[in-house]
């Protein structure tokens, strides 16, 4: 077991949670991420692999929540897979074993910060931070969007009052600041 301890995206030992009366912003440090890109000529194999991992292949703009591996559509022939970091730290390698030459896998864990936002004011909150049509989105809808000039991924969870935001990890402080000040403005 190696001797290096990880830090969270916000630079702490433990992930950070901010609780307001109308909203909570929870840094989620528990996910491993890996990008899955189908190689040419292997599209059918990839569908089989993904079905095996997720149950259903996520279609355009959709996320599938499965246990232990979830996934969402990223682009044509490309998906992002997520899983609990504790059990699946080597997610990219694990899936590569499944798909072999059929897909290109790339570890993405370090590139993202994850915030789960929950609360009554969620819809108003989303309307302040990004142009995603949150009131029309269904559970599982996934949308790449811009939050305060940051390229983020927004997933509407099945529960009505919860979203997951993935943002660029190096800008975690800036993204958190944007979410925090927005929540304050709505308090």
């Amino acid at each position: 077991m190696h001797s290096l301890k990880p830090v969270t995206a916000l630079g702490g030992i433990e992930p950070r949670t901010d609780v307001f009366h109308h909203l909570s912003i929870i840094e989620n440090d528990g996910l491993a991420l890996a990008s899955f890109a189908a190689r040419r000529g292997f599209e059918l194999e990839c569908q089989t692999v993904l079905k095996g991992l997720l149950g259903v292949v996520p279609s355009v703009g959709k996320a599938i929540f499965n246990d232990p591996i979830s996934g969402f559509w990223l682009g044509p022939d490309q998906w992002m897979l997520t899983a609990p970091h504790d059990s699946h730290e080597l997610l990219a390698d694990i899936v590569k074993n499944e798909c072999g030459a059929a897909a290109s896998m790339s570890e993405q864990t370090g590139a993202w910060v994850c915030f789960d936002v929950i609360g009554d004011a969620l819809l108003a909150f989303c309307e302040r931070i990004c142009s995603a049509p949150i009131r029309q989105m269904q559970g599982g809808d996934t949308r790449r969007t811009s939050i305060h000039h940051l390229n983020c991924i927004l997933i509407k969870q099945s529960a009505g009052d919860q979203i997951r935001i993935f943002g660029p990890r190096a800008s975690a402080d800036s993204l958190h600041h944007a979410l925090f000040t927005t929540a304050t403005a709505l308090a």
């Binding site: 682009g75 790449r144 390229n151």
Partner: protein, 95 residues
């Protein structure tokens, strides 16, 4: 403007980066005897229509697809949006 992404539906053009004329897809053959002239025209000569224009947009804040958008430069009306990859294949850029 709103660009109707063929997969993702209507998106604010602010999510995209504009490159230029879609004729950039038609990159010349480097081994043609007229290659020097072909590449010069490809790199430098453009029509600049006041009207319909096929152009390349990159969905940088989205799915990273390149799109070919047919837009009227006078009215900003957009009549067609296609994945650049599909357009490239139609224009003979498959192997």
């Amino acid at each position: 403007m709103i660009i109707n992404h063929p997969l993702l539906g209507p998106r604010d053009s602010a999510e995209f980066i504009y490159l230029g004329d879609a004729n950039l897809i038609d990159r010349p053959n480097w081994q043609a005897p007229t290659a020097a002239k072909d590449f010069y025209e490809y790199a430098y000569l453009r029509d600049n229509p006041a009207g319909w224009h096929d152009e390349l947009w990159f969905h940088e804040a989205g799915d990273r697809s390149w799109l070919v958008v047919t837009r009227n430069t006078l009215t900003h009306e957009i009549s067609n949006v296609a994945l650049a990859r599909d357009v490239a294949r139609l224009r003979g850029r498959s192997k």
